[in-house]
């Protein structure tokens, strides 16, 4: 009996070992794991980058989704079992993760790309800009006519009564409050860096606080507008564009004081396929590939050379369009890395009041 058990145990271990080894990737070089934010955004990347890359190089791409959780990258790198090869990352997280030493420092020579051709290319050491997106305000043209034209109108309850949708985060909201209160766009971060400036921003937000519906996920604002829950809402421009294009919603974007920000490609530190990850980033940063992405989502290609290849009909809907850029607010990642935690705490305290 005991011998039998022992044999069975041995057999089981053997089976488990085989199963485990089978579960490991067969070879390092012919597959790549790319992680992004899911939804329409990842869909656009799939069409513009992942599928062509698979076709051209024969590399199998496995896709995963995440929500920008730095903890996942950190745990992976610290446990020395990096399974994500390329990640699409936001400005803040890239900055924090780079400081933490859990991202590869980007070698632009190895990429074979001209850094100066990329909008914001010199802002980060561990990330390559891929798209430019904007936080904007939008409204339903069938309900508000004439609609708001500037960020001041977001705070004007007399002219445009009704609920406002804003992101449940101090980010951009504080900047907008100051701009609406008369601070020039160039001075926003200088003013916000002083205690008086922060007080001033919250005071301005106080004026509409009772009318605000706070959203957390990017899919919410178009829904809030469609349901008539809000009259004006802040949103990411791609989401509104998609609602207009695909669902034929009568929404309109106000580009005044658009919050101009980036998304980036990064490579987790000491992964097994860093070279291939570089190849993928180089591939998807080519002007034609980046221009192709705008067919699927209205975010601006970070590579300036891509602009001539973009469909002229799409161009005015991108955050980078000259008309949209005249009053753009370039989000300052350094400011938010410094004051983010303090302001978020204050914001939560303010909400609870």
């Amino acid at each position: 009996m005991k011998i039998k058990l022992g044999l069975a145990g041995l057999l089981m271990t053997g089976v488990a070992a085989i199963a485990l080894s089978a579960a490991k990737p067969a070879a390092a070089e012919d597959q790549l794991t790319v992680v992004s934010w899911g939804g329409a955004y990842q869909e656009s990347q799939r069409e513009a980058f992942m599928k062509p890359f698979q076709k051209d190089t024969g590399t199998k791409i496995t896709e995963e989704e995440y929500n920008g959780e730095i903890a996942k990258i950190r745990a992976m790198v610290q446990a020395k079992s990096v399974t994500w090869d390329v990640i699409d990352i936001d400005t803040q997280t890239a900055l924090a993760a780079c400081a933490e030493g859990i991202l590869e420092t980007i070698d632009w020579k190895k990429l074979g790309l001209d850094r100066s051709k990329f909008i914001g290319g010199d802002l980060q050491d561990c990330a390559v800009p891929n798209i430019v997106y904007a936080t904007v305000i939008a409204y339903d043209t069938t309900k508000l006519n004439p609609g708001p034209t500037s960020i001041k109108d977001l705070f004007d309850l007399q002219k445009f009564p009704g609920k406002r949708g804003l992101q449940n985060n101090p980010f951009i909201n504080l900047e907008w409050a100051l701009i609406a209160d008369g601070v020039s766009i160039a001075d926003v971060y200088k003013v916000l860096n002083t205690p008086e400036g922060v007080d001033r921003a919250f005071k301005k937000l106080d004026t509409i606080k009772s009318e605000v519906v706070w959203w957390t996920a990017g899919a919410q604002p178009p829904q809030l507008l469609a349901d008539g829950q809000v009259a004006i809402t802040s949103a990411w421009n791609g989401r509104i564009y998609n609602a207009v294009q695909k669902d034929k919603k009568p929404f309109k974007i106000v580009w005044d004081a658009q919050g101009f920000d980036w998304d980036w490609w990064s490579i987790p530190k000491d992964g097994p396929r860093v070279d291939l990850a570089y190849k993928f980033i180089t591939y998807s940063s080519q002007p034609d590939k980046m221009a192709n992405q705008t067919k699927y989502i209205s975010y601006g290609p970070a590579n300036k050379d891509a602009i001539p290849n973009v469909d002229p009909a799409v161009l005015p809907n991108l955050p980078t369009a000259p008309d949209n850029m005249t009053t753009a607010l370039i989000v300052d990642p350094q400011f938010w890395a410094d004051k983010g935690e303090e302001l978020r705490t204050r914001f939560n305290a303010w909400l609870a009041k």
């Binding site: 706070w214 349901d227 935690e341 305290a349």
Partner: protein, 527 residues
């Protein structure tokens, strides 16, 4: 009396003394039993016990300790008396450390850790790190202050000095809305008015404690724990929102009274236990007094965490009460119906278990939204002229959580009710008790084991809710778990996350202790 000889010892057939043999059998049985639980034990240890230990240690053992990259600075600061600005040697040491940190790329980490204490210093340290590389020789003092005036501030150096301690109170302090005096923004004047609602809460808690004590004890001695717990919570609620000076007097006063009472009460033998608890309170007061004297409360517009913790417990209490009020009659009905009908109803009770928590929460989202089923119906029936605020509110949170938690409260009550013989109530009735009296004095006390278990289960599960408040709650309904996730995933501040977890765990354990004294865990029946 004949001395016991070897022949007198009872032996088994193979000649081993029976006692010995029995012990062997017992031992092998124990080993076998241990072998059976070993896999589970290991699983729980690895997946539950170990992470909790890591969490508890992360809350005090600084996960972002910067004493190593700033080794020389720390050494130079050990002789500093904390007055003015340290001398040249500290500046030189800092310059050397930052140069080294530039090489190992740890400057940003130093900045991040110090930013927890002094908001905004992160980028100044990074800039200094970049510029300090070009500094060849001293004097470094003027050079560093020239790079950024922040190095001429006393608070900067005190923050560095505090970071020398590997075991730090920083994170626990942060989640109790307190900070070191030097890090506090002294420009704002503290509001000295006593906040009424916290006094009200304190009085309520004291009343509850007195009620519990009088109910639980025929002689006074076992009432000690309740008095202790009640007084402690009352005291905690009382001081937590008070301005520092008032709170400090309150704590000191309470401590002295408790210590005196402990001595006086000790004279009577029956009150010995109570005296011990009073002494414990006095010691705790002393500890709290030290905390109050060495730290200050943060700016009122930075104080969020205590409110969040209190809110988490409050929502959990409400959900527990609502599930009890709704579940108890249903459990009673199920237990008294014929088996076939009750089985059918039981399926309805268990139905929510068949769908995932996320799906159920989303379903509530659809029902509760402004133009959802409920609001449309109300407006159609002319019961409301505008949509009621059902979603993104406390109401929505409680409703959705109650729906999910209901079976957890109901099932233990039901299983206990099943075992209560109907003859007990009949006997009471036949002896002249009215229907309510018979229910209240005969039936209800027998349901206590199930009721206690169900409520405990729901309460503790509710404390950890995260998805539901995030989806159907408003910004003021988010519970501790949500902020733990925020600290880990977005802010990348694992010390704060661990401290929040620790506070939640400790508070839950204190409540459990009180609950256990009240009801007794051995009397609980889960099913």
């Amino acid at each position: 009396m004949v001395a016991t000889t070897a022949a007198d010892i009872v032996r088994t057939a193979d000649g081993i003394p029976l006692k010995e043999r029995l012990r062997q059998v017992e031992l092998s049985r124990k080993i076998r039993a241990f072998g059976l639980v070993l896999p589970l034990f290991l699983f729980i240890f690895v997946s539950f016990g170990f992470p909790i230990v890591v969490m508890l240690s992360n809350a005090v053992d600084d996960p972002e300790y910067i004493g190593d990259p700033l080794m020389h600075t720390m050494e130079a600061l050990r002789g500093w008396d904390g007055e003015g600005v340290p001398d040249e040697s500290a500046f030189a040491a800092l310059a050397a450390d930052l140069k080294e940190a530039q090489k190992t790329k740890t400057t940003a980490l130093i900045g991040k850790r110090l930013n927890y204490v002094l908001s905004g210093i992160r980028s100044k340290i990074i800039t200094t790190g970049r510029k300090v590389e070009k500094l060849e020789a001293g004097p470094f003092k003027d050079a560093l202050i020239g790079i950024d005036p922040v190095w001429g501030e006393r608070a900067t150096w005190q923050a560095i000095q505090q970071a020398d301690y590997r075991f730090t109170s920083l994170y626990l302090m942060t989640v109790l809305d307190r900070t070191w005096p030097f890090a506090s923004n002294a420009t704002r004047v503290e509001d000295d008015s006593v906040k009424v609602n916290s006094w009200l809460l304190a009085i309520l808690a004291l009343l509850a404690a007195a009620l519990i004590a009088s109910r639980a004890s025929r002689d006074w001695s076992p009432a000690g724990p309740y008095l202790f717990a009640g007084a402690l919570s009352a005291f905690f609620l009382m001081v937590i929102q008070q301005p520092d000076a008032i709170a400090r007097y309150g704590v000191a006063g309470t401590g002295i009274v408790a210590a005196l009472a402990s001595v006086i009460v000790r004279l009577h033998p029956v009150w010995r236990r109570t005296s011990l608890y009073l002494l414990c309170s006095a010691v705790l007061c002393l500890a709290w007094f030290v905390v109050l004297s060495t730290t200050v409360s943060v700016d009122p517009d930075q104080a969020v965490y205590v409110a969040i913790i209190v809110r988490t417990f409050w929502i959990s209490v409400l959900v527990t009460l609502v599930t009890l009020v709704l579940g108890f009659p249903v459990a009673y009905l199920l237990a008294s119906l014929p088996i076939r009908t009750s089985n059918l109803l039981m399926i309805l009770v268990l139905l929510p278990f068949w769908t995932s928590l996320l799906v159920r929460t989303t379903a509530w989202f659809v029902l509760l939204q402004d133009n959802g089923v409920i609001n449309d119906t109300l407006q159609f029936l002319q019961l409301a002229d505008h949509p009621l605020k059902l979603i993104f509110s406390r109401f929505g949170t409680i409703v959705a959580m109650t729906h999910i938690q209901l079976p957890f409260t109901l099932l233990p009550i039901y299983s206990v009710m099943k075992t209560i013989p109907p003859s007990h109530v009949r006997a009471a009735r036949s002896l002249g008790a009215g229907p309510f009296y018979a229910f209240w004095r005969v039936y209800f006390p027998q349901t206590m084991p199930g009721l206690a278990a169900g409520c405990l289960l729901t309460f503790i599960l509710s404390l950890g809710y995260y998805i539901t408040p995030a989806l159907v709650g408003g910004p003021t309904d988010q519970m501790v778990s949500g902020f733990i996730a925020l600290a880990i995933n977005q802010e990348n501040n694992w010390g704060k996350a661990s401290a929040l977890g620790t506070i939640l765990l400790v508070a839950t354990m204190i409540l459990y202790f009180v609950y256990n004294r009240l009801i007794g865990i051995d009397k609980m029946k889960f099913g």
